[in-house]
Every structure is written in structure tokens, then in C-alpha cells.
């Protein structure tokens, strides 16, 4: 519906837009004065600034590492879309890939120049935060959901407490807490990196919401499944991993996808605690007085970037949902 509305709005403004965006636009120049005399859009801001927008303060000569990081994540994401690859092993692949991307950016190994995380930025940072959130958050969500249904009162209380507290506050406060409070709890001299603190905050936030979704899936599994698994002698973890979770997670997958998409959008919040994700990096790029007037064009580019990512994920999720409602085995 919203998409339709947006399309209608586009339609009525389309003639003006076309002349602004295409006919009178400046596509390429290294001198922002060319843009001032033109009546149209200044797309040159993107050609001129795209490196900073996409990679932030990451050293210019090492941008290929960022490109490689983006490629690894996108390729793996596409592969993961195919049901035939779904297994716990796929999760391990993601875990390894996340670590690999982290090392690739960090350097100091394999003859790569070390680059401190304070220099990271742009799309690689956005994607790494996002992937780290999901890869770290999913197992935590499953454990919280299982814990919430545990017959051990202490574990149950702990999980309920964690879930409800995190869900009771906005993400931004979780991020501030993570960035300000962790240092207080750490022993003297131990500092955790700002990026890691943000990631932990994002993981906790994602996990608390995803846990409730997973719990819904667990509740949908009939008691008979538990009993049949127990009757063939499976242990708690065998039963959980092989019988209950595969069914529960399939049921809630579309719902989980919307949390995943939200996790992607939520990466933008890290700029508030001083990390330069792709949005933050763009803001920095526009601090250049020569180009600041063309912020609109730059943000249109960022808009399209986010839209492509979120739209493809939500399309995919709708496709899963359709499969599920048609009763097909996911």
C-alpha cells in the first residue's frame, strides 16, 4: 500500500523529476561549480564522493578489502536464500564468514596492513554490524526462547528478565548502555572496543525480540512431537536440535525475516555513538563545503542503497510466507 502511494506520488511529479534527475543533471565533474550553473541534479556528488560514502575513513588504498567484504556477505546471503542449503552447517559457514570479514577489515594477518576499527566505516561496517547482529543474535534468541520455557525456575526467570528488560527500552538506550556501562563493569585497564560494544548492544536487542518469535514457533509444535522424540530415546538437545527447532524455526521464518530487516535498518543508529556506518559516512562526506549543497542527491543514492537491500529481503520473506501458507515443506 505504501509502495503504491509512493508510486502515485512519483507519477504526478514525474515530468519535473525527469528533467531534474536526467535531462538537466550533471553526471560527472570534479568541479562543484559546474553543478551550480546547471538546473538539474548534481549526481557528480556521488561520483566524486562515493568512496567516502561507501567506505568512510577506511584508508583509500585498502578499499578493495571493503569491496571484498561486501562481496563475501552478499554472495553468501544469496546462497543462503536457497532452501536446499539450509542446515546448521550454513550457520557455521556464516560464523566463519563473519570472522573472516572481520579479519579482512582488521588486517594484521596474511600480510594485510592493520587498520584499527576506529577507521572503519561505510557499507562494509553497516553489513558487518548487520551480519554480526543476526549471526550472534539468532543462537542467543533460540537459547532465550528455550530458556523461557525451561522447567528450571532460575533459568526461566533469567530469560524472562532479559527479554522483558531489553524489549522495554529503545535500541538507542541499549546502545548507550552498552557503550557507557560496559567499561564500568570491566576490570581496570580492560577496554572493549567501541565497535564490539555496539555489536553486543545490537545483538542483545535483536535476540530479545527474535526470542519471542522463536517462542511462538516452539509453542506451535504439538506435544506429540516431544513425546515421539523422547520415546525413541533422544536426549534433550537431540530432541531440540533435530525435531523441535527445525519445525519451529520454519514456522516463524517469515516473522523472523522482518526482525532481520529491522536489524539492517537499526545499524544506522550506531552513528549516534560515533561509528560511521554508510549513513554516517555520507554525512561526513557532505561536510565538504563545496559539495554540501548536493546532500539531496547523495541521500537519494543512500536511499536507493537501503531500499535495494531491504526490499529484496522483504520480497524474499513474502515468497517464504507464500510457500509456508501453501503448506509446502520449507
Amino acid at each position: 500500500m505504501l509502495t503504491l502511494l509512493a508510486m502515485w506520488a512519483l507519477f504526478v511529479t514525474i515530468p519535473d523529476f525527469i528533467s531534474w534527475a536526467f535531462i538537466n543533471a550533471v553526471w560527472q565533474t570534479d568541479d562543484s561549480k559546474d553543478c551550480q550553473v546547471a538546473a538539474g541534479a548534481c549526481w557528480a556528488v556521488i561520483t566524486e564522493k562515493h568512496r567516502v560514502m561507501l567506505f568512510g575513513t577506511f584508508p583509500y588504498d585498502e578499499h578493495w578489502r571493503g569491496v571484498l567484504a561486501i562481496a563475501i556477505i552478499i554472495i553468501l546471503a544469496v546462497i543462503s536464500g536457497f532452501k536446499r542449503f539450509w542446515s546448521y552447517r550454513l550457520f557455521l559457514v556464516w560464523l566463519v564468514a563473519t570472522a573472516l570479514v572481520f579479519l579482512l577489515l582488521l588486517g594484521g594477518v596474511f600480510g594485510l596492513k592493520p587498520i584499527g576499527t576506529y577507521q572503519w566505516g561505510g557499507l562494509p561496517l553497516t553489513l558487518l554490524l548487520f551480519v554480526g547482529t543476526v549471526v550472534g543474535g539468532m543462537p542467543l534468541a533460540v537459547l532465550l526462547a528455550l530458556g523461557r520455557r525451561s522447567s528450571l525456575p532460575a533459568i526461566k526467570a533469567l530469560c524472562i528478565g532479559f527479554i522483558e528488560i531489553i524489549r522495554g527500552v529503545p535500541l538507542i538506550t541499549v546502545l548507550f548502555m552498552a557503550s557507557l556501562m560496559f567499561p564500568l563493569f570491566m576490570p581496570e585497564g580492560v577496554t572493549i572496543n567501541k565497535l564490539l560494544r555496539a555489536e553486543i548492544g545490537m545483538i542483545m536487542f535483536f535476540a530479545a525480540y527474535a526470542a519471542e518469535i522463536v517462542r511462538g514457533g516452539l509453542q506451535a509444535i504439538s506435544l506429540g512431537q516431544y513425546e515421539a522424540a523422547e520415546a525413541i530415546g533422544l536426549s534433550y538437545w537431540q530432541k531440540t536440535n533435530r525435531i523441535i527447532l527445525p519445525q519451529a524455526l520454519r514456522i516463524v521464518l517469515p516473522a523472523l525475516m522482518s526482525d532481520v530487516i529491522r536489524a539492517f535498518k537499526n545499524t544506522t543508529f550506531v552513528s549516534i555513538i560515533g561509528l560511521f556506518d554508510v549513513l554516517g559516512a555520507t554525512a561526513t562526506a557532505l561536510e565538504d563545503l563545496l559539495w554540501v549543497r548536493y546532500a539531496l542527491e547523495a541521500y537519494i543514492f543512500i536511499f536507493i542503497l537501503y531500499f535495494v537491500f531491504c526490499f529484496s529481503m522483504s520480497k524474499y520473506s513474502a515468497h517464504l510466507e507464500r510457500d509456508l501458507s501453501e503448506g509446502r515443506n520449507l
Binding site: 506429540g224 515421539a228 525413541i232 530415546g233 533422544l234 536426549s235 519445525q247 515443506n329
Partner: protein
């Protein structure tokens, strides 16, 4: 039956494989089992019947700890049922169970339903387990369904898969909780046939059912329960010909 399938040697009740001694169970305030005593010998077939809510399911589910009894003692193949996860898992490996609603794993193919237990519990290699599973499917006469998902099978076929799954772990005892009650009439016979074959091969069986034809044919002992109690236990001849208890008489008059 294949020789590998744990064929129990025919012995009499003097060599009990299952023993319930003064078992009591409550659901909250509700007294579901009252001083239940039952001894099942190796190779014996016991049919349990009784009105709805009389505790039949509760009793057999206590035998593999799907329900926990509060008083009395339960022994399976010489092991006592105690609240210890290791012991419970060891006992469950001796027992196969077939449920009224099949409870197959819908996300796994028929063959995977069968191999899961042996592979995970007995750590048998996947290919050996698959070979064994195919044998088992032959026994229940549906080898051609191996690659299908449970949802693609008829009720009778699903229940036969469930029986095959329970047999995969080579149990010494098979428990059946109303295995044909959820089936359309035309499918009941195919499941009962498989059960009769199993009985003929010497399996120890405890079967909750209202199929009195089956009971007459295979049972060594028929147990009648009412209100959480075993009211009457006798071999089929005397049980049907002259039941002693009035409640049994009433029940039989309603069901026959």
C-alpha cells in the same frame, strides 16, 4: 522377523520384563492411577481396555516415563525407573511406542524418520541405518514410500511407518496407545495385520485398544481398567466368557 530385530525368546511370566508394583499417580488432586499392579512376561501380549478417562494411557505412558508416577515402583527389563536422565534414556531404548496420532516427524522423510533414532541414539552409521530402515519398511509393507514425507501418506500408512520407527531401535517391548482409533475403518485392518505379525514373531506388547477381535486373537492377558484401577485381568477366554466384575460386564456389553 529378521534375526537382528531383537527377537525375544519366548518365556513365561515367571521371567518378567515389565513390572508395576503399587503404582499411584495423581494429576494435581486427581487420582489417575490407584495401586496398579501389572507383570508382563517376555513375549507376552497384554491388551488394556476400559472406558475413556480410566487411566489406560496414563499407565502405559508411565512405563516409558512420558508420565511420572508418584508412588510405587516400575521395573523394565530389570532396571528400575528412577528420576535419573541416564536411566530413563536407557529404559526408553528398550521400549518402542506407537501413538494414537502417529506423531511422525513431518519435516523428515519416512526413511529419515526411521534412521534418526538409530543414528543419534545408537550411533549406527547412516547407510547401515538406511539399509535397516528399508528392511523395516518391507516388514510393514510400504518400502515404496521411503522418500515421501509423512504428510503425503494415508493414516494407515503413517501408522505403519510409526510402528517401523519404533522397531528400529530393536526394542524389547512395544507399547501401543490406541493405534487404530484415529484411522478410517478401511485402514484399521492393515495396521492390525502388522501388529498381529509382530505378535506372532514373539514381541512383547502392551496394547491399549478397543479392537476386541484383535484382543481375542493375540492377547495372553486382557486388562480392564476403570477409574484408575485395574479391575480385572484375565486371559481372553474367561475374560469374554465370564467376566467377574460388574463394571467389566457393563463395559463389554457396551462395546461388543
Amino acid at each position: 522377523m529378521t534375526p537382528t530385530a531383537g527377537k525375544p525368546t519366548q518365556k513365561n511370566a515367571g521371567d518378567p520384563i515389565i513390572e508395576l508394583r503399587d503404582v499411584n499417580k495423581w494429576y494435581g488432586d486427581f487420582h489417575a492411577l490407584r495401586d496398579v499392579n501389572l507383570t508382563v512376561g517376555r513375549g507376552e501380549k497384554v491388551v488394556v481396555c476400559g472406558p475413556s478417562g480410566s487411566g489406560k494411557s496414563t499407565m502405559i505412558r508411565c512405563i516409558n516415563r512420558l508420565e511420572v508416577h508418584q508412588e510405587g515402583r516400575i521395573f523394565v527389563d530389570g532396571m528400575e525407573m528412577v528420576p535419573d536422565v541416564r536411566k530413563i534414556e536407557a529404559i526408553r531404548r528398550q521400549i518402542g511406542m506407537v501413538f494414537q496420532s502417529f506423531n511422525l516427524f513431518p519435516h523428515l522423510t519416512v526413511i529419515d524418520n526411521l534412521t534418526l533414532g538409530p543414528v543419534l541414539v545408537q550411533e549406527i552409521p547412516q547407510d547401515a541405518a538406511e539399509a535397516q530402515a528399508m528392511e523395516m519398511l518391507e516388514r510393514v509393507k510400504i518400502p515404496e514410500q521411503a522418500k515421501k514425507y509423512p504428510g503425503q501418506l494415508s493414516g494407515g500408512q503413517q501408522q505403519r511407518v510409526a510402528i517401523a520407527r519404533a522397531l528400529m531401535l530393536k526394542p524389547k517391548v512395544m507399547l501401543f496407545d490406541e493405534p487404530t482409533s484415529a484411522l478410517d475403518p478401511e485402514m484399521i485392518a492393515e495396521v492390525l495385520d502388522v501388529m498381529i505379525e509382530l505378535a506372532d514373531e514373539g514381541m512383547t506388547m502392551i496394547v491399549v485398544t478397543h479392537e476386541m477381535g484383535f484382543a481375542r486373537k493375540v492377547a495372553d492377558l486382557i486388562v480392564f481398567m476403570d477409574d484408575g484401577e485395574i479391575v480385572e485381568a484375565a486371559s481372553p477366554g474367561p475374560f469374554f466368557a465370564n467376566p467377574e466384575n460388574d463394571r467389566t460386564k457393563l463395559f463389554l456389553s457396551q462395546i461388543l
